[in-house]
Amino acid sequence: MKKSLLALAALGLGISFAYAEDMVVKIGSVAPLTGSISHLGKDNENGALLAIEDANAKGIKIGGKPVKFELMGEDDQADPRTGTTVAQRLMDAEVKGVVGHLNSGTTIPASRIYHQAGVPMVSPSATNPKLTQQGYEGIFRTIANDIQQGSVVGNFAVKGLSGGKVAIIDDRTAYGQGLADETEKAVKAAGGEIVAREFTTDKSTDFMAILTKIKAANPDVIMFGGMDAQGGPMLKQIKQLGIGAKFVTGDGGCSPEFIKLAGDAMSANAYCTMAGVPLDKMPGGKDFNARFEKRFGTGVQIYAPYAYDATMAIINAMVAADSVDPEDYLPELKKVSFEGVTGNISFDDKGDIEEGAVTVYQYKDGKWDAM
């Protein structure tokens, strides 16, 4: 105990020396640190923190001066309104770049504030296509968006499950509809046929009528764009109607909650997809997890590697531009290309990650299992 206190004091001294000599560059991190997905939020923040510490250890010099990066972590509670409040707080504190937010719902409204302030933002986990379609310069993400996800779902349904006939249902939300539309395009592109396109709402519990109609069309695969609260009961009703088709849903259904709600209707015929790749399939995944665990005493949840890469993208762009001024390093951030933990990090002209990966999961032994 005494030793660690001493170490802490030394660390504090070290930092205060650093303050005196180095140029301090603040980088913001926003994620829900309280509430039901706070474990994922902390994961993101730790990912960014690890990147900051790595960069500091390298002794980077910008504009001839040694640089000391500092992480300013904020909690957006996964709430859009809080998200914009803390975004403003970061701008007031003059951070030079932002890693976040976690949810699409908070990232989209906050991105407007970063855009107005001219500060680049890189989200490690927001997948809604709209984020990068707003025409804002300086908004990026290191994870595949729902357009990329939809094309994987569609392709997988036709080729992976050899389902020539696909029925699609969506819940008419921005997320569900977007994912379903992209899936539909991909199914057609892969040579499949859409035999039914049905709709429900994000408040419904009864899907018997649309499922009965789908049954008459005799599909090989049923795809649902929506959340687990509808998807679980839907799978149950598919079974109740004696439909033998396979079931695919997006990341909204890729949860333990889905498995709980679908109960005994779960089988190896249920699939879901999620943006990103599982840790052990990332190029630098194993090594990253080990270092992460050593530093924070807990393994990676989901998005920490993406947050690490997002932070590194900002830092690399600063180094390339030899400036920490957002105006100077933004052009470099657009051109950035390096081998990150999750794979190659480079952005297309909208700010989406190029070659964003999407993974398909199959239900196996009581959980979603990466294929």
Binding site: E198, F199, T200, T205, A209
Partner: protein, 310 residues
Amino acid sequence: METLLQQILNGLVVGSVYALVALGYTMVYGILGLINFAHGEVLMIGALSALTTISSLIGVAPDLPPLLLLAAGLLVAIPTCMTVAFLMERLAYRRLRGAPRLAPLITAIGVSFLLQTLAMIVWGRNYHTFPQLISTTPLQPIDGVFISPVQISIILVSALLMFALVTLVNRTRLGRAMRATAENHRVASLMGVDVNRIIALTFVLGAALAAVAGVMFASNYGIAHYAMGFMPGLKAFTAAVLGGIGNLAGAMLGGIVLGLVEAVGAGYIEDFTFGFLNSSYQDIFAFVILGAVLIFRPTGLLGERVSDRA
């Protein structure tokens, strides 16, 4: 053909639940002229209190037969809902009985929010898995047409309860007092009817039906949460208007008709409109039917005699 039969069955199951809930709306309206928008929340409280009872019983004695567990759930849910409805009438609506019509209506919406928020505090925001104690394994009475035991029991229990209620209202002393109160509070009270008691009883009876409907609804879909009462409540209200609000037989007919229209509408709307509309309009389809019925029969299918009211 199997598809049409299956859709009719789907509609019957959903319609039976609507009908049971619609009875609660229509009874209260018949007697007070009040639309009790909080009635859908009573259904939710029924389902969630049954859930708590059943899961704690399973925790204590996991080997109890499923039907006994379900009965225990109902035995708790029904009195809970009755109490909620009684308090609702006593504390919120009774004071407003002479007030302009808008006041109790707004109060009802307020009570609905209050109950939802309370339920959110007690049971949390998450979806709960409701134990499906009656089998959901589908049977095939006709080739290609599926119905599960839980769905059969929903139709049967609803029919039985509706029959019991009609008998109560038309054949018993209590029923006669209810009908008298509906006709005219003051005259009824002059004839020796305790109007306050009858009104409270009306609320409580409607709540008991809603409790059963809630448990059946949750058992069928295997899901329960604090906002689950909203949609069935809205649909049941529509059903009550469709059948003729204030009229018991009308509420039942309205519920079944609405359920059938929804199912058949969702299934065939694309064919009817030559692909112009699709199933995202299934709710609109139901409301178009409602509009059409009200244009030709302003008081609903089995409309109440309007001249008696006011």
